[in-house]
């Protein structure tokens, strides 16, 4: 039997990898990918708890997180395309016109 802690710790490690990726990477698409890693870690934690308590609501919430991730990825990538069209680069450091 696999204790529940192992799943939670794995979720924490994956979440941390996503957070580090979000801080380190400069490419916008890589930032979006790190957000997807974080969402996946959260999904794993939800399903682990849902399996532990025997309630289905954890998996229902995973369902909704999946839908929100899909919508966010679509709009995020459309924004990336618009940004690329304007400044020919996907580096987030280039998008600093609002800095004073």
């Amino acid at each position: 039997m696999i204790p529940i802690n192992w799943y939670l710790i794995l979720g924490a490690v994956l979440f941390l990898v996503g957070v580090l990726g979000f801080f380190i990477k400069r490419n916008i698409i890589a930032l979006l990918l790190s957000v997807e890693i974080m969402l996946n870690a959260v999904n794993l934690t939800f399903v682990a708890f849902s399996s532990q308590h025997g309630q289905i609501s954890g998996q229902i919430f995973v369902f909704f997180v999946l839908v929100v991730a899909a919508a966010e990825a679509a709009v995020g990538l459309a924004l990336v395309i618009a940004m690329f069209r304007n400044r020919e680069s996907l580096n987030v450091d280039r998008s600093n016109l609002l800095k004073w």
């Binding site: 941390l16 580090l20 801080f23 490419n27 890589a30 609501s57 679509a74 395309i81 680069s89 580096n91």
Partner: protein, 165 residues
């Protein structure tokens, strides 16, 4: 160490390795492909937790549709691997990784002593029937709201990607 635990470690190692590979790769297409591997490994972990419907839905939606979207955009934008421009935030990487490991240590120290919930662990299986019953009876309003959310995302994506707004 029983067979199930060995399998858990194997797929957990694949998931963590693929996630780290997402950070390490220079070219963003390799990062996207590593993410697909990580999503499949996490889907197998869902099957271990007896959430088989969510596992298959994760492969269909996440690895099969969202990542196809990412892959298309990366292939269409077609950038060279190395981004020019000075990397002004090198120091962030040097203090970021130790701080991140400290965060991980805090989280793991909290989660290490989570008590498994006694011996009365309900034999719940994440079958489509259970999810459907709960989704359409208790959670009907969020379900309808997500359809509205997807419509908004669809319109938003079309508007943002147009050439002349």
């Amino acid at each position: 160490m029983s067979g199930v635990q060995l399998l858990f470690f194997f797929f957990a190692a694949i998931a963590v390795g693929a996630a780290i590979n997402v950070l390490v790769q220079k070219h963003v297409l390799y990062s996207a492909l590593s993410l697909i591997v990580m999503l499949s490994a996490v889907s197998v972990l869902f099957i271990f937790l007896r959430a088989d419907f969510i596992a298959v839905i994760q492969v269909i939606v996440y690895a099969g549709a969202i990542m196809v979207l990412f892959t298309f955009v990366i292939m269409l934008l077609n950038l060279p691997a190395n981004e020019d421009g000075v990397d002004r935030l090198r120091w962030l990487k040097f203090i970021g990784i130790p701080l991140g490991l400290f965060l991980l240590f805090l989280i793991v120290a909290t989660l290490w002593n989570v008590e498994p919930l006694g011996a009365t662990r309900a034999e719940m299986v994440g079958s489509p029937k259970a999810i459907g019953t709960s989704l359409f009876n208790d959670y009907l309003l969020p379900f309808e709201a997500t359809s509205l959310l997807i419509l908004i995302a669809l319109v938003g994506a079309v508007v943002f990607a147009k050439k002349d707004l």
